[in-house]
C-alpha cells in the first residue's frame, strides 16, 4: 500500500494549468489517505470531513506554487496535517504546537509495565475490544506525538518524509516516534496485562 502511494504518475504541468480531470485523479487517489489521517487525528468524522475538504481546496489553490521538489503526497500530507492541527488547536487551545521544542526532549519515560502479554492468543490480541483499546491509546497521545505516529506507522511515510511534512529534523521525528511507541506500549500493557490475568485464570 505504501508503495502504491508512492507511485506518482501525475502530470504536474496539467495540474498546474488547472486541468480538472487530472485534479480529479489526484483527489481520487489521495482522498482516502487524507480522510483516514483526519479521522485518526481528530477522532470525529465531521472534523475529518472538514480536513479533507479544506486540504483539497487549498491544494487546488496552491498547485501553481508547488515546485515538485517534494513528492506530491508529501505536499498533500503537509497541508492535511496543518489543517488537522489547526482544527485541534481551535478546539483545544492548550494543544502544543508540533514545532515547539519539548521541555524534556531527551528524557524518556521509563517503562513501568513489565508484563509479557505477547503470548496471548490472536483472538484476544485482535478482538474488537482490543482494537478499541488501541484506538484509545492513540487518542490519548499528545497531538505532537500522535501525528508522528500516524504518519510513520499508519500512513507508512519514511522518517525523512515525516520530517518534511512537519518541518522537523529527522532526529526529532525519531525521538518523538520512540516516545509515542513507548507510551502506546505502556497503555497496551495495562490493557493486555489485565486480559492476560483473566485468560490465565480462565484456562487454569
Amino acid at each position: 500500500m505504501s508503495k502504491a502511494r508512492h507511485e506518482e504518475d501525475f502530470s504536474l504541468e496539467a495540474l498546474r494549468s488547472g486541468d480538472r480531470a487530472e485534479f480529479a485523479r489526484l483527489v481520487d487517489k489521495y482522498s482516502p489517505f487524507v480522510y483516514r489521517l483526519g479521522l485518526k487525528m481528530l477522532n470525529s468524522p465531521q472534523d475529518a470531513e472538514d480536513v479533507l475538504q479544506e486540504t483539497f481546496i487549498k491544494a487546488y489553490r496552491h498547485l501553481q506554487g508547488f515546485d515538485g521538489r517534494a513528492l506530491i503526497s508529501t505536499w498533500l500530507y503537509r497541508i492535511a496535517t496543518n489543517e488537522a492541527l489547526m482544527l485541534l488547536r481551535k478546539k483545544h487551545p492548550d494543544t502544543i504546537s508540533v514545532n515547539e521544542p519539548w521541555e524534556n526532549e531527551h528524557e524518556d519515560q521509563e517503562p513501568l509495565q513489565i508484563v509479557d502479554w505477547c503470548c496471548l492468543p490472536e483472538g484476544e490480541l485482535m478482538s474488537e475490544e482490543a482494537r478499541e483499546s488501541l484506538d484509545r491509546a492513540v487518542d490519548s497521545l499528545p497531538a505532537s506525538l500522535r501525528v508522528i505516529f500516524l504518519l510513520r506507522e499508519i500512513e507508512g511515510l519514511s522518517t525523512r518524509e515525516t520530517a518534511e511534512v512537519l518541518n522537523l529534523s529527522e532526529a526529532a521525528v525519531k525521538t518523538r516516534l520512540s516516545r509515542a511507541r513507548l507510551k502506546l506500549r505502556e497503555d497496551l500493557s495495562s490493557y493486555f496485562g489485565e486480559r492476560l490475568e483473566a485468560y490465565e485464570h480462565g484456562t487454569r
Binding site: 483527489v27 481520487d28 468524522p45 479533507l52 475538504q53 521509563e110 508484563v115 509479557d116 520512540s178 506500549r185
Partner: protein, 88 residues
C-alpha cells in the same frame, strides 16, 4: 510490577525504537543483545514494543472515504463530472 532500572537499561531505552527498526549499527546492536541475554525486563519491553507496533500495523483500517463524504467533497470541489470515474 516496577522495573528495576540499571544504568544499562536506561541507556538502552533511548535506542529501543531504532533497535526494533533495525536502524542501529552492528556494534550497538550486539551491545543491546548482550544486555538482553541477562535482563528479562528489557527483553519483555522489547518484545511487547514489537508486538505493539505489529498490532497497529495489522489492525490499521484501509484508507477509504465513505460514499456520502466523497460526494460532498466532489461537490465542494466542483468535480461532480468526475464522480463516476474511479470510485472507492
Amino acid at each position: 510490577m516496577n522495573m528495576e532500572h540499571g544504568e544499562n537499561c536506561r541507556h538502552l531505552l533511548a535506542s529501543l525504537s531504532d533497535y526494533v527498526d533495525g536502524d542501529l549499527g552492528d556494534e550497538l546492536c550486539q551491545e543491546i543483545e548482550r544486555h538482553l541475554d541477562g535482563c528479562d525486563n528489557c527483553r519483555i519491553v522489547i518484545d511487547t514494543l514489537r508486538k505493539t507496533i505489529y498490532l497497529y500495523h495489522v489492525s490499521a483500517t484501509p484508507p477509504s472515504v465513505p460514499d456520502d463524504v466523497r460526494q460532498r467533497l466532489y461537490h465542494r470541489l466542483e468535480l461532480e463530472a468526475f464522480l463516476r470515474k474511479g470510485g472507492s
